[in-house]
């Protein structure tokens, strides 16, 4: 344990450099650069709002804000986990040549996605300012569900990155999983359209729980129930520990499969 903490402090500069490097890489050669972190969800929101408000006549209040928050949080989960999945492969040169704490690679990628996501939340603030949703002190609590989601994504990222080293199929399969997750989570449709007898499935979906908490805090301004926090903390601990455990157990074998 002591060795781990020593290593962590020794290599912490490397970690920040990796995060910076990932962000730079994402927007390399694009003229608008990091602005895309904000433009992309905004454009998406406009398209979705037109489709659902005009064509499907949805009656969800504050629909643009509803779909924007859903989109940003889902996008973070999807991007960070699939980005982390590739990380060991993309850095195989380094894994083979030098000693570096290997879990840095997936975690740096999840962290860099987190940074760009925080930047894209500027659009949410802007949208609140131009619509009649009031600002509340409570809104600052948004960081709590974000941290739950960060840890859960990091756990999933660790699991995926270690499995992918052994079975490349995971990469192809995961895009389908993400699609299923997207449709199973009320991102652009209201949770109320799910029949009552299937509601329990929704309540097992950690992404929905996070999203629901985030919307409660930001849109309706209600304080999330303690039970929701407890469930999410439970998810966080389980997924995080499974991720770390699996990664730790398999990391010495990576080198034979790269």
């Amino acid at each position: 344990m002591k060795v781990y903490i020593q290593n962590l402090t020794r290599y912490k500069d490397l970690f920040f450099e990796l995060v910076k490097h990932d962000i730079k890489l994402k927007y390399r050669n694009s003229i608008l650069g990091i602005l895309w972190s904000m433009l992309n969800p905004l454009l998406m929101m406009i398209v979705m709002s037109i489709v659902f408000m005009e064509l499907f006549k949805t009656n969800t209040p504050n629909y643009p804000l509803y779909v924007l928050t859903g989109r940003i949080l889902y996008q973070f989960f999807a991007e960070s986990t699939s980005f982390a999945m590739d990380s060991i492969y993309a850095n195989s040169q380094l894994v083979r040549k030098v000693y570096v704490p290997k879990y840095f690679f997936p975690l740096a990628r999840v962290s860099s996605s987190f940074v760009t996501t925080l930047i894209s939340l500027v659009t949410v603030v802007t949208l609140i300012a131009v619509t009649d949703v009031p600002f509340r002190w409570l809104n600052l609590m948004f960081i709590v569900p974000m941290i739950y989601l960060l840890v859960i994504s990091a756990g999933v990222g660790l699991i995926l990155s270690s499995i992918t080293v052994f079975f490349k199929d995971v990469k192809h399969f995961y895009s389908i999983v993400l699609l299923v997750v997207m449709y199973m989570t009320p991102i652009f449709y209201p949770a109320s359209i799910i029949p009552r007898k299937y509601q329990f499935i929704l309540n097992l979906n950690p992404l929905y729980l996070v999203l629901d908490m985030f919307r409660d805090i930001v849109i309706t301004g209600s304080i999330p129930a303690l039970s929701e926090h407890l469930i999410l903390i439970g998810y966080m601990i389980v997924v995080g520990l499974v991720g770390l455990g699996l990664f730790y157990k398999t990391q010495d074998k990576f080198i034979y499969h790269l």
């Binding site: 290599y11 500069d13 450099e17 040169q93 380094l94 040549k97 030098v98 079975f167 199929d169 080198i255």
Partner: protein, 244 residues
């Protein structure tokens, strides 16, 4: 406080060579159920034990494929041994793969930072030592040029300069001295010599028997992953020569 710098105890490095390549999950399941998974065991190192004392210059010799590089990687911590353990006492600078993580698109300076961070230096430390690194590599004219325009000798010089900027207690050298022109070779040998005079332990792998005889005190002779002999440099090198 013991006098041992590196303690290698019964290290075995076993590779499972699958006879066929299995890289999809479906394939794996089918093979596993039909019990068709066939492996061949290959031992890169087998039951290797030795210890290196503090301040000693220790050589490793052997034919190609004897397991020298694997041994160094295990000692450097890049690979974990299948069995056995390695203890290291003191800070270590492995000169095994110079310039790991070098990126052709970045300039010399940027690569110094990148490579330095990968070696576990802090940003502050690199900043302080930047001039020293550039001076030693004699690349001040090209330090703002992207690395893709460097010759391989220049890259090696830069890599060597970064890796040796710390004063390590243990230095692992894997024939890196074979790179660069004779002038830089002399310079790097001199640097290693001053390090050993200051009490640095050196683990040295080379095919150049003359060099091993000249600088090492003790030598380990590896043959097909096994320890053939350990002993005083002159004796072992002599026997190794005669066995060819």
């Amino acid at each position: 406080m013991s006098n041992i710098a590196i303690q290698v105890s019964e290290v075995t490095m076993q590779y499972r060579l699958a006879v066929e390549k299995v890289d999809s999950f479906k394939n794996y399941l089918i093979k596993k159920i039909r019990k068709e998974m066939r492996y061949e065991d290959f031992f890169a190192l087998q039951n290797v034990s030795f210890s290196v004392e503090k301040g000693e210059v220790f050589g490793v010799i052997g034919m190609n494929g004897a397991g020298k590089s694997t041994l160094l990687k295990v000692i450097a911590g890049i690979q974990k041994p299948t069995l056995g353990s390695v203890e290291r006492h003191g800070s270590m600078a492995p000169l095994i793969e110079l310039g790991a993580g070098f990126n052709g698109e970045l300039t010399g300076i940027e690569n110094i930072y990148l490579n330095g961070l990968l070696l576990g230096f802090s940003k502050k430390f690199i900043k302080e030592k930047l001039d020293e690194i550039v001076d030693f590599s004699e690349l001040d004219k090209f330090i703002h040029t992207p690395l893709k325009n460097y010759s391989s000798g220049m890259k090696a010089r830069l890599g060597f300069s970064i890796a040796t900027i710390v004063k390590p207690e243990i230095l692992i050298v894997d024939e890196v001295l074979a790179v660069g022109d004779f002038k830089f070779k002399e310079k790097s040998e001199k640097k290693i010599n001053t390090m050993t005079e200051n009490g640095t332990t050196v683990l040295f792998v080379s095919h150049s028997l003359g060099q091993v005889e000249a600088i090492c005190q003790r030598v380990l002779w590896l043959e097909k992953g096994n320890v053939k002999k350990i002993g005083p440099a002159k004796e072992i090198v002599e026997q190794f020569r005669n066995s060819q």
